[in-house]
């Protein structure tokens, strides 16, 4: 299929689909980064405090570049996108919205499932027909790889260590897995993106994700609930209350005076 060299070469329908995809990617990344950053000063060991902070900065940075791309497509500037939108305008999955609740088992499991999903998607995007997005995916994939190495190490280590840690990780998986399935919620743009060879169908990405995570979870002695049902709605603006609370917190200072320079 022919490459699309620039955003100017997109027809209206594809353009709308790409905007939707970038909002999904950017919103997931920013909310995930926000949650990761909430561990600053509170992680179980200093080394993980530092690691979570690094990954938070990567996620927030990724959100910024996705939003920058949206800005090039005619959307508002990245700060306005991040700090000026109401919850229903967000397209993140419920997985990233869940508060940390001081539950490190859930958070490390969430990161593993999230980063695995992101990596599957980014790997697909590196060869997509939209050249600027393919270039970006190649850059971000490298960082994601480091995140996943970190997460896999912890999931296997905590899964294998002692009964108590394995039980915690199994509970974390039971909680996080249906939410993570929601990362692959199909939107109306699925078919257009697949036909234009920009992004594979969500159902196909999900199959790939499952084959990537199952060996790691098995090695860790953990099992996926075969009857798990995906938690949907995030991609169409239906979010848990936790997102509203997160945004109130994130937009607190910005809202003192949105027109001021901070």
């Amino acid at each position: 299929m022919k490459s699309i060299e620039s955003f100017n070469d997109l027809d209206d329908m594809t353009r709308t689909a790409v905007v939707d995809l970038l909002y999904r990617l950017g919103d997931d990344a920013l909310v995930m980064g926000h949650r990761d950053s909430e561990w600053t000063g509170l992680a179980p060991i200093l080394e993980e405090d530092i690691a979570f902070s690094s990954m938070a900065q990567d996620e927030i940075g990724h959100a910024h570049v996705y939003y920058q791309m949206l800005h090039e497509l005619g959307e508002p500037d990245p700060d306005t996108i991040a700090f000026g939108r109401k919850p229903k305008e967000w397209k993140c999955a419920a997985l990233v919205c869940v508060p940390n609740n001081r539950d490190w088992a859930f958070c490390i499991m969430r990161k593993f499932l999230f980063d695995s999903a992101e990596l599957v998607r980014l790997a697909a995007l590196t060869n997509n027909s939209l050249v600027p997005l393919a270039q970006l995916a190649r850059k971000l994939k490298g960082e994601k790889n480091f995140h996943l190495m970190h997460d896999r190490l912890w999931v296997t280590r905590l899964g294998q260590a002692v009964k108590a840690s394995q039980d915690r990780m199994q509970r974390a998986l039971d909680q996080a897995y249906p939410l993570a399935m929601g990362l692959f919620e199909s939107t109306g743009t699925d078919e257009v993106l697949a036909q234009k060879n920009i992004c594979p169908r969500e159902a196909d990405l999900m199959k790939e994700w499952e084959s990537a995570i199952i060996p790691v979870l098995t090695e860790a002695g953990l099992q996926i609930d075969a009857n798990a049902q995906p938690v949907l709605g995030g991609r169409t603006g239906k979010h848990p209350e936790a997102l509203g609370e997160l945004l109130n917190s994130m937009q607190l200072v910005y809202n003192i005076d949105p027109s001021a320079k901070w």
């Binding site: 950053s37 000063g41 509170l42 200093l46 690094s54 959100a63 296997t156 294998q160 917190s249 001021a260």
Partner: protein, 328 residues
């Protein structure tokens, strides 16, 4: 572990060899670094453990008032910078606990002491960070005061601490620039923003003036620390250096300093100021500050929440090393 700082005034026991002490002090006077396996007087070891431990505690407790504002940072630039800055502070704690470990106590012991209120942390982190402007003042002026202290300590006689401090100061210099830039933006912003900044300075001025420790005439540790080149400047000398460097910059931003006795004497290149309330300082660093209990409770909560992870890690280490999984 309880750190005993009540040893005899010169820190020496009768068992210690006077000849070795003379050699030790001669090495220090020649500007040599003392390394972990070298002989050192017990008093030197204890003073260093006390100082490095307080410094490390201050880094992790200092992550709390600033870390609290990472979720509220109002732009991408600020969110990324503040997250990176607080991450650096936690990294400093890691480096410093490591440096202190070369003298005996383990990190686990030192963290236990902190959460049991048996060891101290810097006075400034016992106060609340109430607004976004507090983050700017902390990053600019507290990091500036810390740089004055730490660049001096980085020339000190104990090798591992001096080397850790050189790395730390390099990062603190970035933090100070980040804080100053935030202050400039607020000072030149809307009236509301300027008022936030002035209000933050009003609340932080006294804690900052106490940051370098009690006045020389009442400081109990300074003489010994100077003699062994653990510290190369007195508390008052550091305070003067801070005032000379930063008062003019505060004036440039249009800020009013909340001390009506503050004046500069050109002849002696000295700032005169209202002597801080050293009773308040002692009360605060001993756990009687506005947020002392909350800071320690937060550290205790994090420590206890993470216990299962550390136990699992210990079990892993005892069983077999888990290799790093291959990259995709």
């Amino acid at each position: 572990m309880v750190i005993d700082t009540k040893s005899s005034s010169d820190g020496l026991s009768s068992m210690e060899d006077e000849q070795r002490l003379a050699e030790f002090e001669a090495r220090i006077n020649r500007g040599e670094k003392i390394e972990p396996r070298d002989w050192m007087p017990e008093g030197y070891r204890k003073q260093l453990i006390r100082l490095i431990h307080i410094h490390a505690n201050s880094e992790i407790c200092g992550a709390l008032p600033e870390g609290k504002w990472i979720p509220h940072a109002p732009t991408f630039k600020r969110k990324l910078a503040l997250c990176a800055k607080v991450q650096d502070e936690v990294g400093h704690a890691q480096l410093l606990y490591r440096a202190a470990e070369t003298l005996g106590p383990s990190r686990e012991q030192m963290v236990e002491d902190l959460i049991n209120g048996k060891s101290k942390f810097s006075n400034v982190f016992h106060y609340p960070s109430e607004t976004w402007a507090d983050v700017a003042i902390i990053a600019w002026l507290i990091d500036a005061a810390a740089i004055i202290n730490q660049t001096m300590m980085a020339e000190g006689s104990y090798g591992p601490y001096a080397r850790a401090l050189k790395r730390i100061c390099y990062e603190e210099a970035f933090h100070m620039k980040h804080g100053y830039e935030m202050c400039v933006v607020l000072a030149r912003g809307t009236k509301k923003q300027f008022d936030m900044l002035q209000d933050a300075l009003n609340r932080w001025w006294n804690p900052i003036m106490m940051f370098h420790g009690p006045a020389d005439k009442v400081s109990t540790h300074t003489n010994l620390l100077v003699r062994w080149k653990i510290k190369l400047k007195t508390n008052d000398e550091q305070r003067q250096q801070f005032l000379r460097q930063f008062v003019p910059k505060m004036f440039d931003l249009g800020l009013k300093i909340p001390d009506e006795n503050l004046r500069y004497e050109e002849k002696t290149n000295t700032w005169h100021y209202t002597e801080p309330d050293w009773d308040e300082f002692k009360r605060v660093v001993c756990g009687g500050g506005p947020l002392s209990n909350e800071r320690i409770a937060t550290r205790r909560m994090a420590h206890e929440d993470g216990l299962w992870v550390r136990e699992a890690l210990a079990a892993c280490a005892a069983n077999r090393p888990v290799p790093m999984p291959p990259a995709n």
